[in-house]
């Protein structure tokens, strides 16, 4: 039994409608309680900003493709090298750091829950192995279904229940959290070196379109009663003029769920491009944000680009090949049989570069133009737009017009005619930032019920105390203080235990893997379905019995069982 009291905390807890109240937070055995005894360990927050632990609803930190990013980039490891000390392992890497480095850096910024954005089911074991080497955050994995043969066949047959049954079986088997679609249909086409340009193209050999896949998956997701909605990386990422495809996709989405969105569209910055080629490239954040504002069933995340070196990695194999042809630097590709693909290339976003400057503007425009902060979440699609350590700078950019203008003055001069950023006056407040970095993310992921993203009684005691005195700082003017304050917590508390303090890692830690196990009726159990098992044993290169992730790969874990309607 352990007790902790965070005293004199200036709390912003949007889910519980607390917006700047000085209070004490009592913690017992990892959960927030009404009160604790006199022997509790006391952390005096001294009136500093105290938020629920940060939640990243879309990041790439663990698994095959992330590790390949590390494997192919010893030059990236030359940055971020720190010596082993105390409980802390040696670290290396900047854009694709080691698991420990990721975990420590997120912890120092007050983040306690992460969603790995893309896990290929066939390689799920790898993701879970890395989860157990990411000690200071609770982890979830979105599972890729964009090129899943069984799903596409069921969609072609119009059998949505079968789609749900396949998704349900797979999530249970690979201990996944939610449904991820990355360039649906496009990754299958890439198997033969082709791509799909938008939602109405037909996937070669399978007779379905991305639109059909997306619509079916949204329905299947609700049939399975998954906590999170379908999580979509739209077709046609990164190409001039793709905003039309993005809006077309959004318009497909029905409103099916009262408690959360029906579609989470990720890194929308990369999907809000105008122009007909790179020469006429421009921002279309406005029509995209307008669409989002009109469709409450959609939540997006920014996918903000920040200047500097990084590594792009995505299941979107064909897109990465196009990037490779543009940059002619190194390129890795990894197609996963019957399921998905992936690609990795290093990039350098430069202020001098017009396209890069426009990309940087678009992300900020989206965040400022989407009226409801619960529906545009703060991400960089780590590390695609930038490594997550840039989040504090993004927060400052959103809170300060002055900072945006100062930065805008340093980017490519021709950017001005292609974007609307300089015209946007909005400056976010503390509460909006708290929504965009934890409360909104937890709600979108459907994990508030398991005590994430808020500080109410019974919530997991994941708490971030920042060295920021809300009343004493003017974020619009003193943006450097915002950057510094959000870079390093005074305390990060994970499950009731202080894990970081003033830039120091205090414990080795042990995370929880959160996964979803939909309860499906026996007649929809795919493990006995002859067609499904036949497909497995004929075309996969592993036997069906060797495919599911064994329990021993999940050390500490939280299984969310859902009552599926099939």
């Amino acid at each position: 039994m352990s007790e902790l009291l965070v005293k004199n905390a200036y709390v912003i807890d949007p889910i519980n409608h607390i917006d700047g109240e000085v209070m004490d937070i009592a913690v017992k055995d990892g959960y927030i309680v009404e009160d604790v005894g006199p022997k509790a360990t006391v952390l005096d927050a001294e009136g500093c900003l105290t938020l629920p632990g940060g939640v990243d609803s879309h990041t790439h930190v663990c698994g095959t493709k992330v590790n390949f990013g590390r494997y192919m980039s010893p030059e990236d490891m030359r940055a971020g090298r720190e010596v082993r000390r105390g409980v802390k392992h040696a670290t290396s890497g900047y854009s694709v750091p080691t698991t420990y480095a990721n975990s420590y850096r997120y912890a120092l910024m007050g983040y306690t829950t992460l969603l790995e954005g893309a896990m290929a089911p066939l390689e799920a074991r790898h993701t879970h192995e890395e989860f157990s080497a990411t000690p200071l955050q609770d982890m979830m994995a979105n599972t890729l279904f964009d090129g899943n043969w069984a799903v596409m066949k069921a969609v072609a047959e119009g059998d949505i229940e079968r789609v749900a049954a396949i998704v349900g079986w797979t999530l249970s088997a690979v201990k996944g959290f939610g449904i991820k679609l990355t360039n649906p249909g496009g990754t299958e086409a890439w198997g033969y070196g082709k791509d799909i340009s938008c939602i109405k193209d037909e996937v070669p050999h399978f007779g379905v379109t991305p639109a059909e896949i997306i619509e079916a998956m949204i329905q299947a997701c609700e049939m399975l009663r998954l906590p999170h909605s379908v999580h979509l990386h739209c077709n046609n990422l990164g190409t001039p003029g793709n905003y039309a495809c993005t809006i077309g996709t959004f318009n497909l989405v029905p409103d099916l769920n009262k408690t959360r969105q029906s579609l989470y569209a990720t890194h929308v910055q990369f999907h809000s491009y105008g122009g007909s080629d790179w020469k006429t490239f421009c921002s279309k954040a406005e029509p995209v944000a307008y669409t989002v504002n009109n469709l409450p069933q959609i939540v997006i995340d920014m996918g903000q680009v920040m200047f500097g070196k990084t590594t792009t990695m995505t299941a979107d194999g064909p897109m990465e090949f196009n990037l490779y042809r543009l940059h002619h630097n190194k390129w890795s590709n990894h197609d996963v049989e019957l399921e998905t693909g992936s690609g990795i290339i290093p990039v350098l976003y430069r202020k001098k570069n017009l396209v890069n400057s426009i990309m940087w503007s678009i992300g900020l425009e989206l965040a400022l133009l989407v009226k409801d902060p619960w529906r545009c979440l703060l991400t960089t699609d780590n590390p695609n737009g930038a490594p997550f350590v840039k989040y504090p700078e993004i927060i400052a950019l959103l809170m300060s017009k002055k900072y945006r203008d100062a930065e805008f003055a340093t980017v490519n001069r021709r950017t001005e005619s292609r974007v609307i950023l300089p015209a946007l006056e909005r400056e976010m407040d503390w509460n909006e930032i708290a929504v965009m970095t934890r409360a909104g993310q937890a709600k979108a992921l459907g994990i508030t019920g398991i005590g994430k993203g808020h500080l109410g009684i019974g919530a997991e005691a994941d708490i971030a105390v920042y060295p920021l005195k809300v009343g004493e700082i003017d974020p619009a003017q003193e943006y450097q203080k915002i950057i510094d304050g959000f870079s390093k917590t005074r305390w990060t508390v994970k499950r009731g235990r202080p894990v970081a303090r003033d830039g120091e890692i205090l414990v080795h830690g042990e995370n929880t893997t959160i996964w979803v196990d939909p309860k499906i009726s026996p007649e929809h159990d795919m493990s006995h379905d002859p067609e499904f098992t036949e497909m497995f044993n004929h075309w996969y290169s592993v036997r069906m019995s060797n495919y599911p992730v064994q329990d021993e790969y999940l050390k500490r874990n939280l299984r969310i069982e859902t009552e599926a309607t099939i």
Partner: protein, 258 residues
Amino acid sequence: MMRIVLTMKERTNPHIPIEAEKINPAFLMWGTDDLTVWEGNKERRLDEIFEVEVEGTATSVNEVEVVLRGDTSRVKRIGEYMDGGRITVEGNVGMHCGNFMAAGTIEVMGDAGGWFAREMQGGAIICHGDVGHYCAAGYRGEKKGMRGGKVEVFGNAGDFTAEHLFGGEVVVHGNCGDMPGVDMQGGYLTIHGDCSRPCGNMTKGKCTVLGCVSEMPPTFKKEGEVEGPDGLPLTHFTGDVANRGKGNLLVRHYQYLE
């Protein structure tokens, strides 16, 4: 002027490498008391490993001369990030001598280990003996290698000399091993002796081989005869065509692997 003489002491196990990036005028000019080097996994005070003699003082790094004596063949990283002054190694030197060096002069009287002048930026570095592999080369995974300065080797150089060369000048008076100038993207490489398979995959820059090239890469386009230093007739190639390259390779004699 300030002169610092470091003489290697007798060691229990002379095979354990020593990492000594602090042997750099920029550090030594402020005193040697707090400086440490690593002998394997043990951090040692500089004076545990070397006899240290200091004469004079300096107000700028350029007034510092460092001399190394004794068996320094296992001492790595001497002059790493050097940005001025002078280092003279009287004997042999270990790996990574002059890594990232930006200015100043390093002169090695004996032989040098691998990665001599790796990723050099500027200044001058001379080896009177032979150098190991990867002289004036890049680092694993990094696209650009040496970017500036001058490397001069009076003996022979090993394999992968000037790999990923991007700028600056490399002169080898003896022979080079296999694949000098491989993946080079700029700069000048001159080999007075022989070598095999130069400049595979080169995109830019100029490499001159005054001796004989064996296993000449088959993907260079012959442009004609040109006159080289001392009126020597050289054959001028451009390539590497396999990589859309626009580099220049000038050779005295060559032979394909047919």
